[in-house]
């Protein structure tokens, strides 16, 4: 069989597997890819050794499929990962309005638009311009992280202090949410220092090091909130048209690609942060543009960061997918770049086509069962997944993460502050005083 057909079948298989797995709440594709990488490493030097022409397109396709389809559990089951966090609130508004299908599909259109943008606009220019920007920016990543942290912490709106006479009581009432936000950020940062310095998770599952904490910080609080407060799900309608036009798609690509691009290029800046920054930068008032823009942003964040490793003259490793692929293969020439771009194009089309039936299937499932029960099942699946992959120690880390992740829920502060788990320790490390802090904490 020629390499073309091998790559095509690997792409199709990767897309279908990832799209199906993406419907499961709480499961990140990097967890699956981690297991895949371990299997590939185990088969090296045996007669079953897997060739790069198989696993590279497959990994690219898995990232594409997951980044497109994971909108379904995020919006319909209320179990987002960090990158899908901003899609959930407007997405759930659609769901509670009986338009869950529409909300999900608008995000998927954003993903497809992101694929077009990556392949037709970014990819041809990337080998020429990205090495230039890398040369200029490479010594400055640390302060970029610091200014992102500064903006995140300074831009939160005080939710309280809305009534009563002027004075300290009112000020304190307002600042309760902001203090909770700061506490969330620094507690998550402390957890990050511990996990990144002396992870209690077994080295055999080192790829999943941070996963239990992320699940605890982001997915479980959503599930718990849904279980406690879930209203009855209104009857969902499946529309034939999404009421979007070229102008809306163009403006979504504009805002989403900015956020996703930032997140893909700068280390540790995640999709959620990129989405927040793009939302602030482009000031779009149309809700459809916001939702679609988040689809674009999420796609470009996951897929774009993977592509960076293959850009000739750049070979930048960003994101969990690229780090895992790097343990198996070092890209060398333009043919690798084209192979990955081709795989992404095919996978995007297939994943988009799968979105409609998978969304309808999930809607059918949640309309048949009580939403509170659905959330309970989702919660059980997530906990089992964490236990299965990382054992009881992972469940413990998840519980700690949940405690921190519940702070924003209880005080009404920003959930994005939970990203202190990565931003704070890594910004400290990049600026050169991370070791001092770990020394104070008795970790080194």
């Amino acid at each position: 069989m020629s390499v073309f057909w091998i790559a095509l079948f690997a792409t199709l298989a990767g897309t279908v597997i990832a799209s199906l797995l993406a419907c499961l709440p709480g499961l990140h594709i990097y967890n699956v890819m981690g297991a895949l990488v371990l299997a590939i490493i185990a088969l090296v030097d045996t007669q079953w050794a897997i060739a790069p022409e198989i696993y590279l397109p497959m990994m690219a396709a898995m990232i594409v499929g997951w980044s497109m389809v994971n909108t379904i559990p995020a919006v319909l089951l209320g179990t987002p990962d960090e990158s899908a966090m901003f899609t959930v609130l407007p997405g759930q508004k659609y769901l509670m309005d009986g338009r869950g299908f529409e909300g999900t599909m608008i995000t998927a259109v954003g993903g497809l638009a992101g694929a077009f943008f990556l392949i037709l606009v970014v990819a041809p220019f990337a080998p020429r311009y990205l090495p230039v920007s890398q040369e200029v920016l490479k010594g400055h990543m640390h302060w970029v992280l610091w200014i992102i942290i500064t903006f995140m912490l300074m831009s939160e709106w005080p939710k309280g202090g809305n009534r009563g006479p002027a004075g300290w009581a009112k000020f304190y009432d307002a600042w309760k949410t902001l203090l909770a936000g700061l506490a969330t950020f620094f507690l998550a940062g402390l957890l990050g220092f511990i996990i990144l310095t002396r992870s209690p998770v077994s080295h055999e599952v080192a790829f999943q090091n941070i996963m239990p904490a992320f699940v605890g910080l982001f997915a479980i609080p959503w599930c718990l909130l849904n279980i406690i407060s879930a209203a009855d799900m209104p009857k969902q309608t499946v529309t034939k048209s999404l009421a979007v036009n070229g102008d809306i798609i163009l403006r979504s690509v504009w805002s989403g690609s900015l956020g996703g691009g930032l997140a893909a290029y700068f280390p540790i800046v995640t999709g959620g942060v990129g989405g927040m920054l793009a939302g602030h930068a482009t000031a779009q008032r149309d809700e459809r543009i916001f939702i679609m823009g988040q689809g674009v942003s999420k796609f470009i964040y996951f897929v774009g960061s993977f592509i960076l490793m293959f850009v000739p003259g750049l070979h930048l490793t960003r994101g969990g997918g690229a780090w895992m692929a790097k343990t198996l293969y070092t890209p060398s020439g333009i043919s690798d770049y084209y192979l990955i771009l081709g795989s992404i194009a095919v996978a995007s089309a297939v994943a988009y086509l799968l979105m409609e039936p998978l969304t309808k299937l999930t809607l059918k499932f949640i309309s048949r069962y009580n939403y509170r029960h659905v959330s309970s099942v989702a919660l059980a699946i997530i906990i089992l997944m964490v236990w299965g992959i990382t054992g009881w120690i992972g469940v413990f880390i998840m519980a700690v993460g949940t405690g921190i992740g519940l702070l924003p829920v209880l005080f009404g502060s920003r959930r994005l502050n939970c990203l202190g788990i990565l931003l704070f320790p890594i910004a400290c490390n990049m600026s050169g005083f991370g070791e001092t802090i770990t020394g104070w904490l008795g970790l080194t």
């Binding site: 407007p90 640390h142 809305n162 009534r163 002027a166 036009n245 000031a283």
Partner: protein, 343 residues
């Protein structure tokens, strides 16, 4: 402008200091953090500190259990009468109506100077995302009115809308002709939005830097803070509301240039993007032995002009024959409502 635009402008201004680049190359991010923080600081002072200590003469607090538009109209008219009778500045707080953890009763206050009356209507219940809850739109169809003792001059046409989190403050300022000038959020862009305050802050923190590291650090900190704080004031002057530029030498806001509204998408994006390009250029100038060489014009063409023209052309093409209505806002309203909505 929106907070992020101010923030990035501050970072861009900081990047013009060669000391900032030098420090960053040695792992010290302080000047860039100072730049961004001071860029957004004037709004932070107003929205997160000052407004909670701002005294009001009249609090209009509707009952969540029995929302009565007539009460709001009467209280509003009473506040106007107070300003007219006592010939003094009167501050009024329109308090929001919280109905539950995520639900708020929206109401609007509209002034009709022709009929010399205020009109108040309770609208839908909205969630914290400001989206109306279905079925609540017409629960209170009554429009309550009350006669006003003087004309209340607004600088914009929008009705005062009260919904999520905090309600707005308005100030009635008696004018020479007997009318009242309505100031929306009088505590905003008052003393905090002033070049002098930026300079004073620079001196204070510069003194701390002098004590910690000597003169060189002191003047670098002073310049960074004063310039980055100042760029916020200058940018706000491009809008409608303006700022109190030289407080305490000036007592009132100087009206802005009316070039934009603070919430408009394009000017905000351009401010952010041009700031990014300036930062990139300044970092490039700091690269010791660059492999790639390009000019400022080249950077602007590749980073701004060409993509901008392509985007503009595509939009033209995609909206051919359509009547595209851009939603216009108001400076204060944009900053107030959109900041709240952004969380």
């Amino acid at each position: 402008m929106k907070g992020f635009s101010h923030f990035m402008s501050g970072v861009a201004v900081a990047s013009f200091g060669p000391w900032a680049i030098e420090a960053a190359q040695q792992g010290n991010p302080i000047f860039f953090i100072l730049g961004g923080a001071c860029g957004i600081l004037p709004d932070t002072i107003d929205f997160k500190f000052y407004r909670f200590f701002y005294e009001h003469d009249v609090y209009i607090t509707p009952d969540p259990l029995n929302p009565d538009p007539q009460y709001v109209a009467n209280e509003f008219a009473r506040a106007v009468a107070l300003a007219v009778d006592e010939k003094r500045y009167v501050r009024v707080k329109l308090v929001s109506v919280r109905l539950g953890a995520d639900f708020w009763q929206q109401y609007s206050v509209k002034i009709d100077n022709e009929k010399l009356e205020v009109q108040v209507k309770f609208g839908p219940v909205v969630n914290t995302g400001q989206v109306p809850v279905k079925g609540t739109e017409n629960r209170y169809p009554t429009v309550a009115t009350a006669k006003l003792k003087a004309k209340v001059i607004q600088t914009y046409d929008a009705a005062l809308k009260v919904d999520i989190f905090d309600g707005p403050t308005i100030g009635f300022k008696p004018m020479d002709n007997g009318d009242l000038d309505l100031e929306f959020l009088p505590w905003h862009r008052e003393w905090s939005h002033s070049l002098t305050v930026g300079a004073i802050l620079g001196v204070l923190l510069g003194a701390v830097a002098w004590w910690a590291s000597g003169w060189t650090m002191a003047w670098q900190v002073f310049v960074t803070i004063a310039a980055c704080y100042g760029v916020h004031v200058v940018e706000d002057q491009l809008g409608h509301m303006g700022s109190n530029i030289f407080y305490p030498l000036t007592k009132n806001r100087t009206p802005g240039l009316h070039w934009m509204h603070s919430g408009d998408g394009l000017p905000n994006f351009l401010a952010v993007w041009i700031s990014c390009l300036f930062i990139f250029w300044n970092l490039y100038r700091g690269v010791p032995k660059p492999t790639y060489h390009f000019s400022f014009i080249h950077l602007m063409m590749v980073g701004l002009v060409i993509p901008g023209l392509i985007f503009w052309g595509l939009r033209k093409l995609l909206t051919l024959g359509q009547n595209v209505q851009m939603k216009k806002g108001d400076d204060a309203d944009d900053e107030w409502n959109e900041s709240k909505a952004a969380g």
